[in-house]
Amino acid sequence: MILMRSTDTPVYQPLPSPIIESHLKMVDATLQPLVDDLSKLPAFISAALFVKDQLYQHEASTVSIVSAPHIHTEDIAFMDSSIRKRRVDLKSTALGQTFVSHESCFAVSKMNPAHLTFGVYAEPHEQNGAVLQLAFDRKIAQHLHEEAVASIIRPYLSRIWATSSVLITESIRHESLANELFMDVPATPNSYAIKWDIVSSTELASQHYAVFRHYLRQFTSKVVEIADTYNARVTSHQGDSQDIIITIPPQIDRSNLRQVGQFGREEVLPFVQHITTLHNHIAQQYPVLSPKIRIGVGLGYTEQLQTDQTTGPVFWEIAALFKAHHLSELTFNQTAKIVLNF
């Protein structure tokens, strides 16, 4: 007889469960006839279904996107880079307005103002709302009427909500539908991420550990103090480095590059300059070390994991910048550069 031994090792399911996958296919299949019908309209681009996530508050997952056969390459590129297989930040999108107001009307897309959107809200399941959103080419959509669009989609809705309900019912067994679907973070940034570390710290620690520790504590505790005054938060402190985030405040329209850039120039850059000056003053007191700091500033999306870690691709991006720009004191990721100069 073979005895089974129970272990702590959980059962791993690194790909979406086959049940969720089959529900996703059903959602795609229920959108297809609607898309076929809407494709008669030259301005029509795509239909997508978004389901609000149970873990990531104020975000929804892009469960399905079905596009018209005639759409342009730039529209495909936008959907693939910013929406497909991603969560969507409801605070910075027209989609979010539909989730909040539950009203169906034309709205210019905030993420891509070349698009005109039309959303329909429903609660296929008491726990999670969903929105069916249609996108149109704004340049040629001037003759479209809301009522005409609504009447085209009306016959398809009950099937779409029925399959959505099955998907949501399955997903609430899990902590997050977005995580089960391996959704990437939203394409819209929610914070500036700042990372600093000390150049050649291993040498400094091996030669003068006690002095290095003293200097590092002086500096890190002061950074925590000044971070507070800039509404920044130190999210990780390891060895010779800190990760810090400055969340873009709610009053700023995250989809507005000008506002995000202005916030960066007025709040983030002064904070970074303050860190640099503070470091230079403290470093002067440790001539035996002559420590040098390098700082990376990135604009991107940061998220808090179930392990309490604050992470996001932007932190890796900054780490890669450090590897590439070894000696530079201050570096920026591409997104931060663009919006700060905008």
Partner: protein, 338 residues
């Protein structure tokens, strides 16, 4: 006279240290003429690092041979001392003065210490070190005679020192290094080429990493290990030497390494390989480093120590091995196999 290098951030502390050195000097001069004396040291219990004392001063006899003070210079001066692995700790506990063979350098040193309470729960010990091979020339009565007249001034300067130290830890203010005796095995791992994996497929990478980190946390508890840091694609894990183990015994530390730290490391690596096999799109590879050293909980709450930097350097110089082991860990584990 002992000179602290580099100079302390607080010049007043520097002055008090020099006063302590000056008040120990007469004892050193007298004992140097009458016994096989090597050095005198003043140790003060630390306010933050419990179970440890800071080496406030060491004054050597001018006539000693270098080999007799090598140990003191490398392992005692400018450092904190772990009281659980030294005879110094015994004096702090019993408050009794008696000759004791040094646990840290038993071949060369015999010690005699005297305790004083500078302030409630804040003791200090003046410890004298003698040549163990000439014990027939050491007389406890003579030691007392040459020491007692100078104690008041030593304790007075020591009180000034602890009164001046306003920060969380006197040892930190004196820029003291960690104890030379290890207190833990440390395991550090990270994922190779994580930046490319994140760029290629962040959500899948995050999924894999969360699974592995949570599973690592589960097995860590079975081995008495503690995860002290998560960052991005890496974890720092410490496996503290248990209190039942004699930290001054290389053999005991080596056996613990072979029977606990190494199996834990192997378990973690094989756990990773099993999980990684479920992510063929990523094919993530782990590199791990095991080290023996001193891990301290800093006043900021962070667990750190020179060994963490040593492991980081080992990871950077990684030659493609799955597992690298620092020199101290290699030595004690091999030594205990003899």
């Amino acid at each position: 006279m002992t000179v602290q290098t580099p100079s302390l951030p607080n010049p007043i502390l520097q002055t008090h240290i020099e006063m302590i050195n000056a008040s120990i000097q007469p004892i050193v001069e007298r004992l140097s003429h009458t016994s096989p004396f090597i050095s005198a040291g003043l140790f003060i219990e630390d306010n933050h690092y419990k179970g440890e004392a800071g080496t406030a001063s060491i004054v050597n006899t001018p006539v000693v041979k270098p080999e007799f003070i090598d140990f003191t210079e490398n392992s005692v001066r400018g450092r904190r001392i772990d009281l659980s692995s030294t005879v110094l700790g015994k004096v702090f506990n019993t408050h009794e003065s008696a000759f004791e063979i040094s646990k840290l350098d038993p071949a060369h040193h015999i010690t005699w210490g005297i305790y004083s309470e500078l302030r409630p729960n804040r003791g200090a010990v003046l410890q004298l070190v003698f040549d163990r091979n000439k014990t027939h020339l050491i007389d406890e009565e003579i030691v007392r005679q040459h020491t007692m007249p100078f104690l008041n001034s030593i304790w007075a300067s020591s009180k000034l020192l602890i009164n001046e130290a306003t920060q969380t830890s006197l040892a930190d203010e004196l820029l003291l290094n960690v104890p030379a005796t290890p207190n833990a095995y440390i395991l550090k791992w990270d994922v190779q080429k994580s930046t490319s994996l994140v760029t290629a497929n962040y959500p899948l990478f995050r999924h894999y990493l969360s699974r592995f980190e949570l599973a690592a946390e589960q097995i860590a508890t079975h081995y008495g290990a503690e995860i002290t840091e998560y960052e991005g694609d890496s974890q720092n894990i410490i496996i503290p030497l248990p209190p039942t183990l004699d930290r001054s015994s290389i053999e005991d530390i080596g056996i613990f390494g072979r029977t606990v730290a190494l199996p834990f490391t192997q378990h973690l690596l094989s756990l990773h390989d099993s999980i990684a096999a479920h992510y063929p799109q990523l094919e993530p590879r782990l590199r791990a480093c095991l080290g023996l050293g001193y891990a301290e909980r800093a006043t900021t709450g962070e667990v750190t120590g020179p060994v963490f930097w040593e492991l980081a350097a080992l990871l950077r110089n990684d030659s493609g091995d799955h597992l690298a082991i620092n020199q101290a860990a290699q030595l004690v584990m091999k030594w205990s196999e003899r």
